[in-house]
C-alpha cells in the first residue's frame, strides 16, 4: 500500500533554516545539511526546502546548498522559491533535487507550469498554492509573494480555479498552504483540504496548522491528502517524527516502516 507521507518543511533564508509565524518574524533554526540529515534519520518521508526570500527579492540567490543536500540525503526532496524559468528549474534538478515547486512565478506566468511539464516531466513539477480564507467574500483566495510581508498580495484568483488550472497545465503535485492556519498549530484546514481533494487528481499535500499528532491523523483520515507538511512542530521538537509515525500506525494510517541496513 502507498504510505501517507510525513514531510518536514525547512524554510531557507541565506542558507539557514528559519521559521516565522504566519509568514512573519523569521527566526534562525539552524544549518540546512545537518537538519536535513537528522530528519532523514528520524524517518521523514520527504523534505521540502522553501527559499522564502527568493520569490520576493530581485537578487540572484545562491542555491549551492541544493547539491550539498543531495550528496548526503537518500530520501526525496523538493526545492521551492525563486524558480522563475525552465533554466532555473533545470539548475536545481541538475544539482540533485527530485522536484521543484513553483508558486508566485507560476501566478505571474501560468505558462511556466506547462513549460516545466514539457521539459522535465510531470513528476518533477510541484505547484505551491498559498490560500487565504477571505471572511468578507466567504471564499478561499490565492495570495502571492507571501515570503515578504510588504509585498504579499491577493491575486484575485479563487483557490479552486487555480487548482484546476495548474492540473490542466501539468502539475504533478499540489501543496496547499492554508495561510489562516500557518504557524499557529490549531490543526490543518480540513474543510478546505477536503474540498480541494475532490477537485485534485494529482497528489495533494496539506500545509499549515499542524500542532498535535492527531492533526495529522485528522487530515489523512478526513481530507484524504497524500502527505502532510509541517515545520515548527518538527523544528521545535514538539512532535518527534518516530513518535508521530508510531501514533499514526496505531490509528491504522498506512505509514512507511523503517528499514535498517545490516552492513554499512
Amino acid at each position: 500500500m502507498l504510505a501517507r507521507r510525513i514531510i518536514p518543511c525547512l524554510d531557507v533564508r541565506d542558507g539557514k533554516v528559519v521559521k516565522g509565524v504566519k509568514f512573519r518574524n523569521h527566526e534562525i533554526i539552524g544549518d540546512i545539511v545537518p537538519l536535513a540529515e537528522q530528519y532523514a534519520l528520524q524517518g521523514a518521508d520527504e523534505l521540502v526546502f522553501y527559499d522564502i526570500t527568493a520569490s520576493s527579492d530581485q537578487r540572484v540567490v545562491d542555491k549551492s546548498w541544493v547539491s550539498r543536500i543531495a550528496e548526503v540525503i537518500d530520501i526525496p526532496f523538493c526545492v521551492a522559491g525563486g524558480i522563475k524559468s525552465v533554466a532555473d528549474a533545470g539548475r536545481i534538478l541538475e544539482m540533485g533535487a527530485d522536484k521543484i515547486s513553483v508558486n508566485s512565478p507560476a501566478l505571474e506566468n501560468p505558462e511556466l507550469i506547462t513549460q516545466l511539464h514539457d521539459t522535465f516531466g510531470q513528476q518533477c513539477v510541484v505547484v505551491g498554492i498559498d490560500s487565504y480564507f477571505n471572511e468578507k467574500s466567504g471564499q478561499y483566495e490565492v495570495y502571492q509573494f507571501t515570503g515578504d510581508e510588504k509585498r504579499t498580495q491577493n491575486t484575485g484568483r479563487l483557490t479552486a480555479d487555480w487548482v484546476a488550472e495548474v492540473q490542466q497545465r501539468g502539475a504533478g503535485e499540489i501543496v496547499l498552504n492554508c495561510m489562516n492556519q500557518d504557524g499557529v498549530r490549531q490543526g490543518y484546514d480540513i474543510e478546505q483540504l477536503t474540498n480541494i481533494r475532490q477537485a485534485c487528481s494529482v497528489p495533494l499535500i496539506a500545509s499549515g496548522g499542524a500542532g498535535e499528532k492527531h492533526h495529522f491523523y485528522d487530515v489523512f483520515k478526513q481530507a484524504d491528502v497524500d502527505g502532510a507538511l509541517a515545520a515548527s512542530v518538527f523544528h521545535k521538537g514538539i512532535i518527534p517524527i518516530p513518535e508521530l509515525k508510531d501514533f499514526l500506525r496505531a490509528q491504522g494510517v498506512v505509514i512507511r516502516d523503517d528499514f535498517r541496513r545490516k552492513s554499512a
Binding site: D45, A97, D98, G121, F259, R261
Partner: protein, 205 residues
C-alpha cells in the same frame, strides 16, 4: 569493491546527480559517461532515466548508444524510466508521434502501459511496499513489505520477467530481470537504507 568500475550512462536527461551521489556513497569508482568504450569496459552499469520514454530514446539514439547498451554482457541496472527503456516498447510517446508507442531497447521482452488506477491519483508518487519473488540477487536481505520510493504514471504488468511486484490500483512490476539486465521501477537512490541495500547488492553481483 574499489577495483570495480561502475558507469552511469549519461542519457542526456536531467537529474542523474542523485543516482551519482548514491553510488558514490557506496563505491569510490563511479563515473558518468556516454562513451561507448568506457561503458563497455565497466564492471557494472546503471541506466538512469527521468523524463519521457520518447525523449530518452531519442537521446540514446542521438548519442549512438542503442547497440552498445543492447549488447552489454555485464550487469546493467535500469532505474525508473531506465527500467522502462529496457523492454520492447512503451505507450508513452510524443504527442505528435504517428506511432502508437515508442520502440525501446528490447533487452527484456515486455511493454510499458499507462497505469489504470481507478480513482487513485497519478502519478503514483511516494513510498510503497515491494514484494520480491525471492531473497536473491538485488533483493538479497530485502523482505516482502519493504518500502521503496516511486514516482511514475506508466508501468509494466506482472509477467514472467517480474522480479518484484507492487500494488497501486493494479499489480505492476516493481522490478524486472532477464539475463544480465535488471530494472527497478522505484528510485533506490531515494529509498533510504532499503535503496542503499539494493544498490549494494547490485554492486556485489
Amino acid at each position: 569493491m574499489a577495483t570495480q568500475k561502475t558507469v552511469i550512462i549519461n542519457t542526456g536527461c536531467a537529474n542523474i546527480s542523485s543516482v551519482k551521489f548514491a553510488m558514490q556513497r557506496l563505491s569510490d569508482n563511479v563515473s558518468v559517461s556516454e562513451d561507448v568504450g568506457e561503458i563497455q569496459a565497466a564492471d557494472k552499469i546503471i541506466l538512469p532515466g527521468v523524463g519521457s520514454a520518447n525523449a530518452a530514446m531519442d537521446s540514446i539514439q542521438h548519442k549512438c548508444l542503442t547497440a552498445c547498451i543492447q549488447t552489454l554482457k555485464q550487469p546493467v541496472l535500469g532505474v525508473c524510466l531506465g527500467m522502462q527503456l529496457m523492454v520492447t516498447r512503451s505507450e508513452e510517446k510524443a504527442q505528435q508521434s504517428q506511432q502508437d508507442f515508442t520502440p525501446c531497447l528490447d533487452v527484456i521482452p515486455g511493454q510499458v502501459k499507462r497505469m489504470q488506477v481507478g480513482d487513485l491519483r497519478l502519478p503514483h508518487m511516494g513510498w510503497n511496499t515491494v514484494s520480491p519473488k525471492n531473497d536473491l540477487s538485488i533483493f538479497r536481505g530485502i523482505p516482502a513489505g519493504t518500502y521503496f520510493y516511486f514516482v511514475h504514471s506508466f508501468a509494466v504488468d506482472v509477467y514472467e520477467h517480474t522480479l518484484a511486484s507492487s500494488e497501486y490500483g493494479q499489480s505492476f512490476s516493481a522490478s524486472l530481470h532477464k539475463d544480465n539486465f535488471f530494472g527497478v521501477q522505484f528510485h533506490p537512490e531515494r529509498s533510504g537504507d532499503a535503496g542503499a541495500t539494493l544498490l549494494e547488492n547490485f554492486l556485489t553481483l
